[in-house]
Symmetry: C3
Subunit: 207 residues, 3 copies
């Protein structure tokens, strides 16, 4: 296959970078949650914030390139949606780290660590899928299926944790804090599912 | 009029199925709320969950067909939006049933039943409008107007119920539970309005 | 330049009206917050509600015109997004005024007034940018940059106010009320950023 529009290849590289950056952010946060033992979350929050800021710049660069490019490697609308949904996953990881700092959560509940670990696995799947998109679109689908499965698992974990909270947490303000932490992390996994849905659409259209 | 692209007719049938399924889900939940007398919500929640799961499959089938079809009976973007918004209504009905179970709400307040009844009426209007879309687009609009009117009514009911809660409910955790139940149901009616807006756009474009 | 499609000019006028109406709504609310001294918020809420209602009609008129127009002055999708995001900003201003009434907030915290003032400044920037869009697209970008900067500032203000609330507010129900007021106002500034992103995309595409 001769590439007659080599400039467009760049989009795939940009998406690979975005997915790698998302995976970095999710990992930093997940590692912290696994083993924080009462450490102040301010440092991890700053690290995640920096990664999220880089992610914003990458998203902005893709959308700018999109607006200045006439021929795109796949549908304009799908490029827009894919960039936005990957950006959203990292935004919610950042929001979770931010809540930890704002709400002074030093000993996050185990379910938060479980949810963050699921976001890491989804991010890795997104990174795999994005890498395959250009040359092996037939292999993208299995990663989309796995991302959806991980979202189902996250949903189950978050719902269990919230039910537990309403049964056992007597302090309403603590309940508000933890409930929001779970919800924000669950939203990150929803956005990863959105990314998977776009990837699936791109593959189906090109079949 | 000779149908030279009969394959596309399928989209209208698929939307009719989606709308009928949504109406089923909304009705099951609404009937339960009208007359539950302290029954455990787990059973109704499982019924709604099954219907919502079928709805997910229908949405997925429409989007898959969309991605594999070159000529569509109306704008691709509108097919996407219509399927997504009908799916969203049922998602929020399911979320409401889910909250009842998670928060162990055995005696739901009257306003929740009122809101669920409004979602049923909106679903019926969506089902009517979708049926008319192919052969009688001129008659779609009156159903869209009614869906919007029902959304206004739901907004009024939800706001009144939330104001009442803040005035009379002294237990913050109960307040959090009921407020979220009202909000989730009100969101279902917002999504029905989104569906009506897409239907209106489709009719206007074809005029 | 000879306008051969004069009907389309109307879109720019309609957006200018929408932005002026948004600025009105944001100002009325902001002025009230600056100097309310325990006045019942019902009156300001009714004023904002009326303005928001006019905004709904303007949005509806633009979308209707869009659906009936074949040649548009810029991408259909961007017209849709721009109208929706300007509409959303005003919806959240209205939601904030509404919460004040529903939650009987007679003495709103200073941070709410700060946030509302930032929405006013964003609305003015949107109005400027929209006015320049037709004849001076090169000057639109600086207003988009300023809107984004104001969103960052609002984010900082809201986060500080929420952290303060969790540290000092002991009554969970008051905490719920004020937290939601801040969040709704912060969402208004997010939607203004969405509008800026669409404006930027329109300019880039036309370059």
């Amino acid at each position: 296959m001769v590439r007659i529009i080599p400039k467009e290849v760049k989009f795939f590289e940009m998406f690979a970078e975005m997915a790698a950056n998302l995976t970095d952010g999710a990992r930093v946060f997940s590692e912290y949650l696994k083993d924080c033992n009462g450490t102040d979350p301010v440092q991890v929050r700053n690290q995640v914030k920096d990664i999220e800021h880089r992610g914003d710049e990458m998203t902005h660069a893709i959308l700018k390139k999109l607006n200045q490019t006439f021929i795109t490697p796949f549908d304009r609308e799908d490029i827009h949606r894919l960039a936005s949904s990957i950006d959203d996953v990292l935004d919610f990881v950042n929001a979770a780290a931010d809540r930890m700092m704002l709400y002074k959560i030093y000993n996050p509940p185990a379910a938060a660590a479980e949810l963050a670990a699921l976001v890491v696995r989804q991010s890795e799947e997104i990174a795999h899928a994005v890498k395959l998109l250009e040359r092996n679109p037939d292999h993208v689908m299995q990663h989309c299926v796995e991302i959806n499965r991980l979202e189902d698992e996250a949903d189950r974990v978050a719902r269990g944790a919230i039910a537990h909270l309403f049964e056992h947490e007597k302090d309403p303000i603590t309940l508000i804090k933890f409930k929001e932490l779970y919800e924000v992390l669950e939203l990150a996994t929803d956005k990863a599912e959105d990314a998977a849905n776009v990837l699936e659409a791109v593959v189906l259209k090109s079949a």
